[in-house]
Structures are given as structure tokens and as C-alpha cells.
């Protein structure tokens, strides 16, 4: 394939008019994705965006790549078929909290477990947008919505904890408007072989405005989030004066202040993205006592589904040699009837 000249983010924008509500967090994500693809030198002809149903799932229409807007919740299954047939393609799945964790939870679970080489971006806005504002499986208890006028009562699912439980090998988080952070996370996800799962905190300005403001809003972001990086100490805060440690008396994280109680930077826990137990603890962190972890929380290498399949196929072909269909359908008992139409006597007993 002739490599095109380096494309700009604009070259990844389709000619279709973008139809999200003005001010929707999806615009920022679209911009971030287009920038990422330009920066990694993606080829639009080998890039596919697959989505389900919901506001986020309109995403493929706005990309000048291949795109498939499918049915509610099923994008991971369709993307799996695409990737298995043509492993050379770069396959991105766009889903939301309703699409990916409610109606399509099963497919998300199995895509992660199988380690199909997909980049799954889950836009979490903790609400159903396209169907006009019902509570979603990630909504906080007590969420008032047209379908829960007295407040929701069920426990929400944590997308990243779900992904970890499904044996996801790449789990990351970012924020729609965090334009410095989002492309970096996407680049890591793209570079990772296997299923990459990215939860993006996305603001639905119409039905759930400001739901993540306590940590995602620009003015508090540095204080209330922690950008985790493999091999670096888990430090956060505007003054970078806070860090995470493991409480030696209980198996849990605590927030400590550097320079207080004799704590120095060297006492701070170093992020190890290969440690699923740490990942679990980082995922569970929420304000006001803890910062929200963003960045690549968990990443371990491993054989992808397609790699394992190809390796197995090579072995099978080595054993079978050049396959011959005519002999395949003649395995077992075969008998011949002669020209005269008469059957030969069967073998003597």
C-alpha cells in the first residue's frame, strides 16, 4: 500500500456535518482522535471505526476512514469479526456507558477476555443521551431522570473495574477536554497489541452537565486527579506535594503529603501498570478523599487472539499439508458403483 503523505488532523474529518449538541464533550474527543491519528501517521484506508447506538456511536460518520455504525451494544462483536478476517486493519470501537455496559455488556466482556486487538473507547457520561436523559448503568445512586423521577437506587458499575475483571490487559482513563492527556493515552492504546480499553469521562451538557466537575473541571483537575505513569511515583496536586502509599496496616492506598511527617518523594509508591492489584485500587479511587486516577492504569503484554489463532493455524497446516477437498469428503467408508449401475458385492465376511 503506498503510504500517503503525512496527513493533518483535518484530513481525518469526513465531509459530514457533526450533529452533537453544541458544547458536548464528544467534540473534544473527536478532535483528540483526529489529532492522534495524524500524529501516529495512520492510514485512513486501513483504519476502521465501529460503533453501536447512542450519541457517541455517531462518531464513525465524522471520520474520513472506514466506518460502520451498527446496532445497540454489538460493536465489539462486529469489530471482532472484522479484525479476525483482516488483522492488518486498525480497528477502533466507539461505545458509551449504556451501549457498552448495559445492552452490550456481554460483548465487551468477551472482547476483553479474548484479547482481540481492538481499541475500545467508552465515552462515559453516566446518562442516556440519545434517548433523552434516562439514568445509565454508571449513574450514581439517586440520579433523578425521566425513568427514575424519585432517584435511581441501583449500584453503578465501574467501567475500568469491569474491564479488569474481564481480564482486560490494557485499561486506561482520560477526560474529554484534557487535550494534552487524551492523545497520549490513545497513542499508548494504539501501540498496545490486544484489546485496549479506554474510559473517557465525557460531559453530556444537556442531560448530565458537570457530573465530573468535581475532578475533571480545569481549575480543580490537577488537585483532584492523578496522572499515573508506569515507573513514576504516584504524585499529584497543583504543587505536586501529595502522593499515594500503601497503608502497611491494611491492604489499601492512602494519600500522604510530601514533606509532612517525614515523608519524602522516595516514600511514594511507584506506579507499576503490570500489577492488577494496584490497578484495582487505583480504579476504585474517588473524591473527596482520593484523586481520580487517569492515564494507563493497567497494561500487560500477551498474545492476541489473532496471533494465537495464526500460530495454531500454521501448526495445523504443517500437519495437514496441501489440503484436498475431494479427499476430505472421501474420508471414511466410500464405495464405488460401476458403469452398469450395479453395485459390486461388498467385501466378503
Amino acid at each position: 500500500m503506498n503510504k500517503p503523505v503525512k496527513l493533518s488532523p483535518k484530513d481525518f474529518a469526513s465531509d459530514q456535518e457533526v450533529r452533537w449538541c453544541p458544547g458536548c464533550g464528544d467534540y473534544a474527543i473527536l478532535k483528540g482522535v483526529q489529532r492522534t491519528l495524524a500524529e501516529i501517521g495512520a492510514d485512513p484506508a486501513t483504519t476502521v471505526f465501529v460503533s453501536g447506538i447512542g450519541c457517541s456511536s455517531r462518531f464513525p460518520y465524522y471520520m474520513a476512514t472506514y466506518g460502520f455504525h451498527t446496532i445497540h451494544g454489538r460493536a465489539p462483536a462486529i469489530a471482532t469479526g472484522i479484525k479476525l478476517v483482516n488483522p492488518k486493519l486498525d480497528v477502533w470501537v466507539i461505545t458509551g456507558d449504556g451501549d457498552g455496559l448495559s445492552i452490550g455488556g456481554n460483548h465487551l466482556l468477551h472482547a476483553l477476555r479474548r484479547n482481540v486487538d481492538l481499541n475500545i473507547m467508552l465515552f462515559n457520561n453516566e446518562i442516556y443521551g440519545l434517548t433523552k436523559g434516562q439514568y445509565s448503568p454508571t449513574s450514581e445512586p439517586g440520579t433523578r431522570s425521566p425513568s427514575t423521577p424519585y432517584g435511581s437506587i441501583d449500584t453503578p458499575v465501574s467501567p475500568c473495574a469491569f474491564a479488569l475483571g474481564a481480564k482486560g490487559r490494557f485499561i486506561a482513563r482520560t477526560i474529554d477536554t484534557h487535550q494534552k492527556h487524551l492523545p497520549d493515552v490513545l497513542k499508548r492504546a494504539h501501540a498496545h497489541a490486544g484489546t485496549s480499553f479506554i474510559e473517557i469521562f465525557q460531559n453530556c451538557i444537556v442531560y448530565n452537565d458537570g457530573v465530573f466537575d468535581d475532578f475533571a473541571e480545569r481549575s480543580v483537575r490537577d488537585e483532584r486527579t492523578i496522572e499515573v505513569r508506569h515507573g513514576e511515583p504516584l504524585i499529584f496536586g497543583t504543587a505536586r506535594d501529595k502522593g499515594l502509599r500503601v497503608d502497611p496496616t491494611a491492604c489499601r492506598l492512602t494519600v500522604v503529603e510530601i514533606g509532612k511527617d517525614g515523608i519524602s518523594e522516595s516514600d511514594i509508591l511507584v506506579h507499576d501498570e503490570t500489577n492488577p492489584h494496584l490497578a484495582q485500587m487505583l480504579i476504585e479511587m474517588r473524591g473527596p478523599d482520593f484523586p481520580v486516577a487517569i492515564g494507563v492504569i493497567h497494561c500487560i503484554e500477551g498474545e492476541t487472539y489473532a496471533e494465537a489463532y495464526e500460530a495454531q493455524t500454521r501448526e495445523i497446516l504443517k500437519k495437514s499439508g496441501e489440503p484436498d477437498f475431494n479427499s476430505w469428503i472421501r474420508r471414511g467408508h466410500v464405495w464405488t458403483v460401476g458403469k452398469d449401475g450395479a453395485h459390486p458385492e461388498p467385501a466378503a465376511e
Partner: protein, 628 residues
């Protein structure tokens, strides 16, 4: 075969129906298939009917745990497993209880009296031992202690009693092979292969088989053991084997992939009775076939749609309840106009219904069962061997017309075996598709630009340079392929999708009369696995001098272009179906004909007699006037 036996000692038969029955744990299905295999090798035509419970290990000795395998074989053409068995092998009381009502007077019943213990009799619901009372006076009964004879035969191998008794089916098979002068060698070969890793079990089974055979040869029972010879059938020259519908479907799909020069991607979720297709294809990876056991029925079809989108032949397979789950995704495939083959091995419904029993009740589902105006091509296979050709035909239509195609089979032909003239892959014509050659289409392009003949859209797959585009389940503009909510455009696209499916009728062969003349008093119209019963009934009716013909449909949607004209040549139309009248509705609607129905939903195939009676009734009545 013992050709040394003076033929005077052999009773020559034209055809015979044997039914093996026993507990699910008795290995009845294996016994039946091995007997069928030996029978095929002996040159008879044959048809089989495996009939087993839905439970994997139903409680031993109960009537609902009875497994049976019926086979009809003969010197002439055999198309059904037979109405009534001539010989019943009952390996326990429950098997006798369940199968006795199906036996004709005078039939031979071979019984393992060793299993007729008070406890087993009670479990089967016998108040007294039928061997002692007058239950069996109408039949010829051969009661042997097969359990004990088996234990004696395998005694030298040191098996536990439980293991030893599991050889009972081979002892019985040995006796039956002797009785019908079938060769033992194929069974011995099969045992040798199957138990290669367990020589003791292998040798015990072979010993049991030989002992059963020797028993027939030497038994001094004080009465004459019958022995039969059925002359080989005269059939077209060529190479033959036995094949089940599931095998033939799998091979047909594989052959279609080779003929199209494309990868086959088979996404499936286990379900009775469709799973054997998945199992066979899973072994055939070297033929560029990728099978994928999905997490559910929806993912199975969705992965296949993804595969088709990416340029492979997407295939999915299930049975009625699973097809119901795939419905929304089928709508997507219809809307984005991708090739797809969907196989439905029908079973008794509704809901979970009768998982292991046969029915033809998903025709409405296949033709109408989707939201929106969502037409799709529907085909049905008639016999196990026909599954091969129909699978190729389904794939050909999917690729050449860029449409999803539903292929219907059912539990009966999926499991039944018949002798099959093995085709040569080189004789099968190639299958074309709509992938553009490099540079054939240049941007800006409309993914819904259509072939003027078939109305198929181009199959542009990700990876093709310059032709990036977006498709989806929202309505698309006929002119650009972009999302369009325009009312006139939706009208146009809906009509185009209909027209595209209707046009398939221009490319399929005209309907032929399967048997009989092109005009007459009555035409019996069938589809699917009822082929054999209808064919036999029509032949019998014609031999009685009735002016009856048989038309059997492979193409159910769209119907063949000449079908209306053909039907007009007959005074009456009779449609026998294993449902409440689904094809009958279609034909009435399409041709405004007063169609008579014969409907059976008992989980069992038609008996020839049932169809013949319906023919008699139909011709006895006044020919109806044309529809008012």
C-alpha cells in the same frame, strides 16, 4: 458376507425397516450409525431417523430417556426411514413401552430379557412383565438375555460389570449384521480406530460384536432365526458414502468458499440440533475456514457480519430460538446490504420447544420475522445430500446479489444419514462477487451505487485505498450513501431492497415437477425434509392410477418465476407441512389458490401413509373453483 450360505436359507426382501431402541446410555445412536454404515457398504439405498431425548443423561430406564435409531434400507430407492418398523430391537422395558405402538402386527421384536428386571419394568410403567402376559402376542418375539450373553463374551477382558454391559450394543449389532447379511469389517475397523488408545475396551467390543454374530450363526434356540438378504440398489455410477445433513451443509459451505476464492468465517453459538455444523467446520481450518464460537447468538451473527464487511463470506448457524435472537442483526445486514448466509436447523417450537425433534415451523420467521420491511432470500434443503448443493446455492446468491440468505434445514435431515454420490469439487462452477478491481471505482463514490442487473452494491472492504466510506443501520441516501431521513428517499430505498430480492428469481432455475406430469388432478407441493415421504406417497398414488404430481421447492423466497403457471396446470393443490400451514399461507397469498393443508406437529417426520391418505381425500373431493 457369507456368500456360502445357500440362498434358500435367506429370505429375500425388497426393503426393510429396523428400529434400534434402548436407554440413552445404551449407545443406540452409535449402533444405528454403524449399522447404517455397514448397510451402505452392502450397497443398499437407505434413509435413517435418529430420535433421541433432549437430556444428555436422562434418568436410566425411564421412558423419556429412550433413544432410538430407525433405518429403512432396500434394493430400490429409499427416501424415508419408513412408516412402521419390521424389526424392533428393544434393549430395555422402557424402549419396548415407547416403541410398541409404532409396530405393525407380525413384526419381529428382539428383546434383551436380562434388562426386564422388576425395577426396570416399574420404571417403564409396566404393571406386569410383557414377556409373560399377552402384550406381545401379536408379534414375533425373540427374547434373549443379551446382557448375560454380553457379560460372558467379554469376560476374559476383566472389565467392571458396568463397563462390560456397555458392550451390549455391539453384541446386538453383531446379531443384526448377521441377520441382514451385512459385513462386520467396517464396524471392526471403526472400533479399532475409535478405541486405538484403549486396547482392552477395543477388544472387548470386538469380542461382543463377534459373539452376537456367532450367536446368530450357531444358536440352537429350538426355533428358526430369520435371516434376510436385500439386494443392492441400482444407482447411478460413481463414488458413494453416507452423509448427514449437517455434514453436507458444512461441506457445501466449505466448497462455496473454495469456489469463491474467499475465506469463510463461521460465527456460531452451540444449539441443538445445529451444533454439528460448527463441529465439522471447526476441523476444516486448512480450507481457509475460520470458526468462531461466539459468546451468544447475537455475537455469532454480528461477528459474521463484521467478517462480511471485511471481505470474507460471513456465515452463522443456529436453530429457531437462536435465529430469533439474531433478528435485529439480520435487519442490519439487510440494511447495509452485505452478503451473509444464515442457516436455521429447525426444531420443534415455540420457545425452547422440542430441541431434538424436527419441525418446519420457522418459515414465517425466515420470510417475515424482522422489524421494518426487511425482505431476505430463503432456501430450504430437501434431503441430507441436497444440503450440500443448497449450501452452495445459498452462498452463491449471497455473494452475487449482496444479500443475506436464510438456509432452512431441520432436525430430521441434520441428523439423518443417506447414501450420497460424492461430487468432484472441480465440477462445481466458480462463484463471482462484487469486489471492485483496483482502480475500477474512483472517489467520490457511492457505496450504494448498484449493478444494473442484480441491483447489488459494490463490496468495498476496509483496506481498499481511496474508497473510505461510512455505512450503518440508519437509512442511507440512494444517491450518496450518506444518512438520509428524506421521506421520498426512504420510499425509494425500501422499494430497491424489495426489488433486489425479487430479482433473484430471474437468476434461479425454473421450478420443475419433481415427479409426475405437468398437469393433473392434484399437485402435492412440499419443501424441506418432507421430500422423501411426499415422493413415496405420490409414486404410490400414481401406481394406483391417480393423476398426482409432486413439486418440491428449494427457493421459498423469492418463489421461482414459473411456479404460478405450473400450479395452474392442476385442479387441486395439497401442501403437507410439519407446521400449521406456513407454505400454504404463502401460496394462497401469492397465487390466490385454494390450497389444501396437511399439517403435523408431532416432532416426527411424515409417514408415507399419512401423505397418501391426504392425497386420497383430496382427489375424492370436487375440484374447487378458481378463487372468487
Amino acid at each position: 458376507m457369507d456368500t456360502s450360505i445357500p440362498s434358500s436359507e435367506l429370505e429375500a426382501l425388497d426393503r426393510v425397516v429396523v428400529r434400534f431402541a434402548g436407554d440413552s446410555g445404551d449407545g443406540i445412536q452409535l449402533t444405528g450409525t454403524q449399522f447404517a454404515s455397514a448397510t451402505a457398504l452392502a450397497g443398499n439405498d437407505l434413509a435413517t431417523f435418529p430420535d433421541y431425548p433432549a437430556e444428555i443423561r436422562a434418568p436410566a430406564g425411564t421412558t423419556f430417556g429412550v433413544s432410538a435409531y430407525q433405518i429403512q434400507f432396500g434394493a430400490g430407492s429409499v427416501l424415508t426411514a419408513g412408516d412402521e418398523p419390521d424389526v424392533l430391537v428393544a434393549l430395555n422395558p422402557a424402549a419396548l413401552k415407547v416403541n410398541l405402538p409404532a409396530m405393525r402386527e407380525g413384526a419381529l421384536i428382539i428383546i434383551d430379557k436380562g434388562s426386564f428386571t422388576p425395577r426396570n419394568l416399574q420404571k417403564a410403567g409396566f404393571e406386569s412383565n410383557p414377556l409373560d402376559d399377552d402384550t406381545l402376542t401379536k408379534y414375533q418375539v425373540l427374547a434373549l438375555d443379551i446382557s448375560k450373553l454380553t457379560l460372558d463374551a467379554v469376560d476374559p477382558f476383566g472389565l467392571s460389570k458396568k463397563e462390560a454391559l456397555r458392550c451390549k450394543n455391539m453384541w446386538t449389532l453383531g446379531l443384526m449384521l448377521w441377520m441382514f447379511t451385512r459385513p462386520r469389517k467396517p464396524v471392526i475397523d471403526w472400533l479399532t480406530n475409535k478405541f486405538a488408545k484403549n486396547p482392552v475396551v477395543r477388544d472387548a467390543n470386538i469380542a461382543a460384536l463377534n459373539a452376537g454374530h456367532a450367536f446368530g450363526e450357531t444358536a440352537e434356540l429350538g426355533f428358526h432365526l430369520p435371516r434376510y438378504r436385500i439386494a443392492p440398489a441400482r444407482v447411478e455410477p460413481g463414488e458413494y458414502r453416507t452423509v448427514t445433513g449437517s455434514q453436507a451443509i458444512a461441506w457445501g459451505i466449505a466448497a462455496a468458499g473454495l469456489k469463491a476464492g474467499l475465506k469463510v468465517f463461521f460465527g456460531s453459538y452451540p444449539i441443538t440440533p445445529a451444533s454439528p455444523i460448527l463441529h465439522e467446520l471447526a476441523r476444516m481450518r486448512m480450507f481457509n475456514i475460520e470458526t468462531f464460537q461466539a459468546e451468544d447468538e447475537i455475537a455469532a451473527i454480528c461477528s459474521a457480519i463484521g467478517a462480511s464487511y471485511a471481505g470474507a463470506i460471513g456465515v452463522t448457524s443456529s436453530s429457531g430460538p437462536g435465529i430469533a435472537l439474531k433478528t435485529e442483526a439480520l435487519g442490519l445486514a439487510i440494511s447495509v446490504e452485505l452478503p451473509l448466509v444464515v442457516i436455521n436447523s429447525q426444531r420443534g417450537g415455540p420457545s425452547t420447544g422440542l430441541p431434538t425433534k424436527t419441525e418446519q415451523s420457522d418459515l414465517y420467521q425466515a420470510i417475515f420475522g424482522r422489524n421494518g420491511d426487511a425482505p431476505m432470500v430463503v432456501l430450504a434443503a430437501a434431503t441430507p445430500g441436497d444440503c450440500f448443493d443448497t449450501a452452495i446455492e445459498a452462498t452463491r446468491i449471497a455473494l452475487e446479489h449482496m444479500v443475506p440468505v436464510m438456509l432452512l434445514t431441520d432436525g430430521y435431515i441434520a441428523n439423518a444419514a443417506e447414501p450420497w454420490r460424492i461430487p468432484d469439487i472441480d465440477d462445481i462452477p466458480p462463484i463471482a462477487n462484487h469486489k471492485p478491481a483496483a482502480g475500477e471505482i474512483t472517489p467520490p463514490f457511492n457505496p450504494f451505487r448498484r449493478d444494473p442487473e442484480t441491483l447489488a452494491r459494490p463490496w468495498v472492504t476496509p483496506g481498499m485505498p481511496e474508497l473510505m466510506h461510512r455505512i450503518g443501520g440508519l437509512e442511507k441516501s440512494a444517491e450518496t450513501g450518506n444518512i438520509s431521513y428524506d421521506p421520498a428517499n426512504h420510499q425509494k430505498m425500501t422499494e430497491l431492497r424489495h426489488e433486489k430480492v425479487e430479482r433473484v428469481a430471474r437468476f434461479i432455475p425454473p421450478q420443475k415437477v419433481s415427479h409426475g406430469d405437468e398437469t393433473g388432478d392434484l399437485v402435492v407441493v412440499g419443501w424441506g425434509s418432507t421430500y422423501g415421504a411426499i415422493d413415496q406417497a405420490v409414486r404410490l398414488a400414481r401406481s394406483e392410477g391417480l393423476k398426482v404430481s409432486h413439486i418440491h421447492l428449494r427457493h421459498l423466497f423469492p418463489l421461482p418465476a414459473n411456479l404460478g403457471e405450473l400450479l395452474a396446470g392442476f385442479d387441486r393443490v395439497l401442501v403437507p407441512e410439519l407446521n400449521m400451514g406456513q407454505l400454504a399461507t404463502l401460496l394462497r397469498d401469492r397465487y390466490l389458490l385454494p390450497v389444501r393443508q396437511l399439517n403435523k406437529v408431532a416432532g416426527q417426520p411424515f409417514k408415507v401413509r399419512e401423505v397418501l391418505e391426504a392425497i386420497h381425500e383430496a382427489v375424492a373431493q370436487d375440484a374447487p373453483k378458481a378463487a372468487e
